[in-house]
Amino acid sequence: MKYLMIHAVDQDATPNDPTCASPEALDAWVQEMLARGVLLDGARLHPVSDATTVRAPGGSPVVTDGPFAETKEQVAGYDVIDCPDLDSALAVAAAHPTTQVGSIEVRAFAEGMPDPLVPEPVPDGKLRYLMLVCADMRRAMAAASSAAEERSAPSREDVDDGPDEVDTWIADAGPRRLYGWALQRPDEAVTVRRVAGEVVTTDGPFAETKEQIAGYDLLECDDLDDALQVAAGHPVAGGGVIELRPLWR
């Protein structure tokens, strides 16, 4: 199964190197997980002060600075891992140095996700952005818990207006979208952090916000306006919110 690890760090507390305890420890984790065939994609993000948010209520885009939610911990990076089950995914997350400085939300992708194909390196003149697709998931979650017998994975329809609109959006984005997929609902997330050196696992996402990350896409665009145009056209931008985060080169 494929899982997303969302690294969440209090960026005010560690302004110099917000994402991990040490570059060496990070590199060791990456090398090990690549060797084991666990790590499929991942990147560190520029700090949240470089985030831009777009909403498109009624179809007209509204661009604002900052993240989709003003939480203490903010998304600082992500990894896509392939593990046989949740326990092994949690073990992979617990071994990541981010747990020294913040927390890691582990959430499975919705079924059917193909392997991410991310070309290296970034072509000249292009920038990569992580596009976090966020929506108010409370209704979907309430509906799911009231129909407890139906525990199948939510598809994009839970979030989007319909798969056709997403398909149209993907076609419009063209080569500017490298890949992307929907996640399981936030109530199915597990968050790993360390308290006094010990790994602590809690259910739920890293922050209890009204809007939650429902999925993401990796974009490769000419500049921010190009990326905003792609993001504003996403069907979720109409009722939810999209956060664009530039990746470190």
């Binding site: 002060s49 470089d50 985030a51 600075d65 900052g66 500049d223 921010l224 530039p246």
Partner: protein
């Protein structure tokens, strides 16, 4: 005493800083490098112009010196990251001396980038004042009552975001044009208003941010001759600024109705009126606000004010609570305080916490002879007033009300 060369450098700084920097950023793609080299070019000019005389084309001279500086610095850079900055500028080429006509005016690119909606509003204002107006971080910090390190950090973060997030350095595409022009005007108007509010005398050390906003809007009107709202905003600023000489007396803000109108700047009023005269309907929001301002400016005495026209103009603005509050003032002059008070009371929920709502309510209650209610409203307004000057004014009104004068 300043020398002729120093005067020429100062004049060139005032006239050309923004243009020089805009061109340098376009050439080298690196905001920090461009700013450092622009500064050094002016420092070099102080010496060279004194020694060799002021060049015939100062901007071309400054650009050549700054580009040579930038080229030297880029050569010394070793990291891969820094080499990427050479995208537009080949570090191995000698920079040929530039002629005046070789320098296109790239300030539009600069202003659209500084006012990009992905930047926080305070950063947009600060970056615009720094890069286009040439104010130092210390001056901007004083203007907005923050410490210099705070302002430095704000500017550093903004420049980092432009680089990391890939905010483009260009005039926006047609589909973004209207929205982005509106964004730029919003930044300029905010800059003007903050500068204007600050001119109430709490600090004599402050640079005149509203004058900078007017200067920049004037330049923008030249750069975008087809944009009527740019000229309308310029008119609004000029017509508001015309009343500035009468706005503060003995350290206190004087309300419009009590100002010495002979102090108003007649030339500025004439300029604002001329800017508006050539505008076609339908008017944008700045054009409507400018016309409201003009109605006040052309009234020789408060009782000559055309409140009918003002009330009508307010209906042409988007009906926000603040617009409605202002319209209520006009309605009180044409239809009496009772009609206006009903409007103001309806706005109570929306404008709770806004001192001018309480102050306006107090005025209307006083006119209706409801002294106790008026006093209570004034006390609310005093608690909510943002600056000392406004609180003083409200306290005086309260004292006058209670002493029955």
């Amino acid at each position: 005493m300043t020398t002729r060369a120093e005067d020429a450098v100062a004049l060139s700084f005032e006239q050309s800083w923004g243009r020089l920097l805009a061109g340098l950023i376009g050439w080298c793609g690196d905001w920090d490098l461009a700013e450092e080299c622009a500064q050094e070019a002016y420092a070099a000019a102080v010496v060279a112009w004194d020694r060799d005389g002021v060049p015939g084309a100062p901007l071309a001279w400054l650009s050549t010196v700054a580009r040579n500086q930038a080229r030297d610095r880029m050569r010394r850079r070793t990291t891969e990251d820094a080499k990427l900055d050479l995208a537009h500028a080949d570090a191995t080429d000698e920079v040929a001396a530039l002629d005046a006509e070789d320098i296109p005016d790239e300030r539009l690119r600069l202003i659209f980038t500084c006012c990009h909606p992905a930047l926080p509003m305070p950063a947009r204002v600060a970056l615009t004042l720094r890069t286009l107006c040439g104010l130092t971080p210390a001056e901007i910090a004083r203007a907005f009552l923050v410490t210099e390190p705070t302002m430095e950090k704000r500017l550093v973060r903004a420049r980092a975001k432009i680089k990391h997030a890939g905010i483009p350095y260009r005039v926006p595409a047609p589909e973004l044009w209207a929205e982005r022009v509106e964004g730029v005007l919003g930044v300029l108007y905010l800059m003007f208003n903050e500068g204007y509010a600050a001119s109430s005398g709490d600090s004599v050390l402050r640079v005149d941010v509203s004058a900078e906003a007017i200067r920049l809007t004037r330049s923008l009107a030249d750069l975008l001759p087809g944009e009527e709202e740019v000229r309308a905003l310029l008119a609004l600023m000029v017509l508001t600024d015309a009343r500035r000489p009468a706005r503060v007396r003995d350290g206190r803000v004087v309300p419009l109705g009590e100002q010495d109108r002979t102090l108003w700047d007649g030339d500025a009023i004439a300029e604002g009126a001329a800017l508006l005269a050539s505008q076609d309907q339908p008017w944008g929001p700045y054009a409507v606000q400018a016309r409201i301002s003009l109605c006040h400016d052309v009234a020789a005495r408060p009782e000559d004010t055309d409140w009918e026209a003002i009330g009508h103009l307010y209906t042409r603005l988007a009906p926000t609570p603040v617009t409605e509050l202002n319209r209520a003032v006009a309605v009180s002059m044409t239809h009496g305080p009772a009609a206006a008070l009903a409007m103001v009371e309806d706005l109570g929920d929306d404008l709770a916490g806004y001192y001018l709502h309480a102050a306006t309510k107090a005025d209307l209650e006083a006119k209706l002879g409801r002294v106790d209610d008026a006093a209570e409203s004034l006390r609310v307004a005093i608690d909510l007033a943002p600056t000392g000057a406004e609180r003083r004014l409200l306290r005086e009104r309260l004292d006058a009300l209670l002493s029955g004068s």
